[in-house]
Subunit: 382 residues, 2 copies
């Protein structure tokens, strides 16, 4: 068969809706014009809805790692203590960035796949009363585990420390209420729940955290949030913005507004439930202790070469999921149900997984996973 | 008339060719795949042609200012001396970034519109023998003046200092030979001569400068070039790249390869010549002492409100050029002939300028500028 369609079910980049994709080809307009300022005003409003915050959300041309650096460089000064509540690769990244900026690092760890407990964070704050901030993840993309940010918020709010949450894979898929939960800094990237290509980062800062921004002694220029604040106050951006990605953001936010945030979370939760039912029906094991709406990490069963299965799915079957990262390489396979996804994305992913495992001689009943997913996908009132 | 087309003749963003624009709407593929590595390999090769260098050119999701920060953060350590050879807003930006990173700043200035002389740089190096690097512009976008980078290279190469050139508006339009001219670091952005939307920055580093990268004590993570080098060595990128912009880059580089760099420079030079002939035919004055191929800055004549003329051109006539920046506000108008431009872009810009000036009662003979441009555009053997 010469025609093979490609399906992307990785936790970023995620599929882009056609209305959003085509906006990436719109003729550019100049960014220092009233016409473009009107677009900035519109997306700034939409980003508050996406972030569920009353505070401004700043956007910048960068990957998610760039806005993580923005959080560290703006909130921390060299020598200050950062607590990192981590259980995966992206938690470790907080520490790497912190070390690059001369911060003193206190790691609060759980095993890959587990959730860091709020009591662990509480204890670390007691032991380190001068800690400036707690850095963590809403969803640890490398394991699919979701942390209890609401509980973290309760613990951190009792202290002077700030709570900084990487919502890169979480925002849009997993409910998160930064103002209510007392999250001081929330950030995300464009290529996840927001349904855009990669290249934009977003970050919100609470009034409590702004004091730290003003006081920070870390060297910074491109990521200096004071410049973004000053510009956004007049519907502008400090440096040439990624105009075509902002056109796309405008279209994506319209889709999100139409679905509503509650609708987004419910759809993600429902697709996640169907995926997990399929995995269980195939007698496979889930990896994450507290799996979220973002992705389902499956333990690679004995008798299957996990890396090979991911490659076969991608190169032979046209279905891109993600393997394990770092120490999880070959041990997990991650199926994302993130962003622009509907029922048939899930049955496609499960069908491809069944075929790939069968090709390795793993005992699988073709269709058993798909049937279990369909049971949920078509009987659910969604 | 209800239909009004928009023409963009500002020095960034510049118009995007349709083949490049439509690639911005292509379905995404995952970035950690052999399929995407092949694209990185292809663009990495094309970027060497664009930069006219044998050394690798790194790309990152950021504005031009981001790669300027990458140059400072990777080459300088706090307390070290940077010489900034400047005569405009973007020269000043080098100093602002340097100060943010704790560098000791030595400014070598010329007035806005003038070119910094190589002898000034030579003198500054003699007075500051411990200077780590000279930072300057190939083309100062705020004035349209081009600096003699070849001569700067001769002066700097006699010392231990590095030569760092912001080629953001220059690369692609103005000949620049970093290897031959002993430029240690050259950088540009995507929304200029490269004919892409904004959102990508590019930077090359000479072997001499790599020693400084390895030795730099400036805090950096997202812009740390060591991570980009390690990744690019295996056709990869350290963080999620701006996939859709890289699809577009691949298409733009094909167009550039087809035109050839010599063809690009010749076209830009020829469009610049026609624009200047038009300005002179309208009895207007050029602003830059050493105008380049990028843009033509026109002095706003007495009796004309320059800011208003730019607004009328944009909002009433659909032709976006640029006004003056900073202290040049209202004093100059900048017509770019940069990127995806041909003959009729020039006559459109000149025609719109004639109309806008006439509407302010300025004595102008309609068509006189266009005629002078046509004389060059159609009699030239191009």
């Amino acid at each position: 068969m010469k025609i093979k369609k490609n399906y992307i079910l990785a936790p970023g980049p995620t599929p882009v809706p056609p209305e959003v994709a085509s906006a990436g080809a719109w003729p550019l307009i100049h960014h220092r014009t009233p016409q473009f300022c009107a677009i900035i005003k519109e997306v700034a409003q939409g980003l508050k809805m996406l972030f569920q915050t009353q505070h401004p959300v700043y956007f910048m041309a960068s990957s998610g790692t760039g806005v993580m650096e923005a959080a560290v460089a703006n909130l921390m000064s060299p020598g200050e203590t950062m607590i990192v509540a981590q259980a995966g690769k992206f938690g470790e990244r907080w520490g790497e960035i912190g070390k690059s900026f001369g911060c003193h690092l206190v790691e609060v760890k759980a095993e890959y796949g587990k959730a860091v407990q709020p009591t662990q964070v509480e204890e670390a704050l007691k032991k380190n009363p001068s800690a400036k901030a707690v850095f963590t993840q809403l969803s640890e993309t490398s394991t699919g585990c979701v942390f209890d940010i609401e509980a973290f918020g309760k613990v951190v709010a009792k202290t002077d420390a700030l709570l900084v949450v990487d919502g890169i894979s979480g925002v849009g898929a997993e409910p998160c209420f930064p103002d209510k939960w007392e999250v001081d800094c929330l950030l995300t990237g464009s290529q996840k729940g927001v349904m855009l290509p990669p290249g934009l980062g977003f970050i919100s800062i609470s009034p409590k955290a702004w004091k730290a921004v003003d006081a920070s002694k870390s060297p910074r220029f491109y990521f200096d949030l004071r410049a973004y604040k000053k510009a956004l106050d007049s519907d502008d951006s400090p440096y040439t913005p990624a105009i075509s990605l902002l056109f796309q953001l405008k279209e994506a936010l319209k889709i999100i507004q139409n679905e509503t945030m509650e609708g987004m979370w419910a759809r993600h939760s429902w697709l996640a439930k169907a995926t997990r039912a399929a995995i269980k029906a195939l007698n496979l094991e889930l990896f994450a202790e507290r799996p979220g709406n973002i992705l389902t990490a499956v333990k690679v069963p004995s008798g299957v070469d996990g890396e090979k299965a991911v490659k076969v799915m991608r190169d032979d079957l046209g279905v891109t999921i993600a393997g394990g990262q770092g120490s999880m390489k070959g041990k997990v396979m991650r199926i994302a149900h993130l962003g622009y996804m509907d029922r048939f994305d899930i049955t496609t992913a499960i069908s491809a997984l069944e075929i790939a495992f069968k090709r390795q001689g793993f005992p699988i009943k073709l269709g058993a996973g798909v049937a279990a997913a369909e049971d949920i996908l078509w009987q659910d009132p969604q």
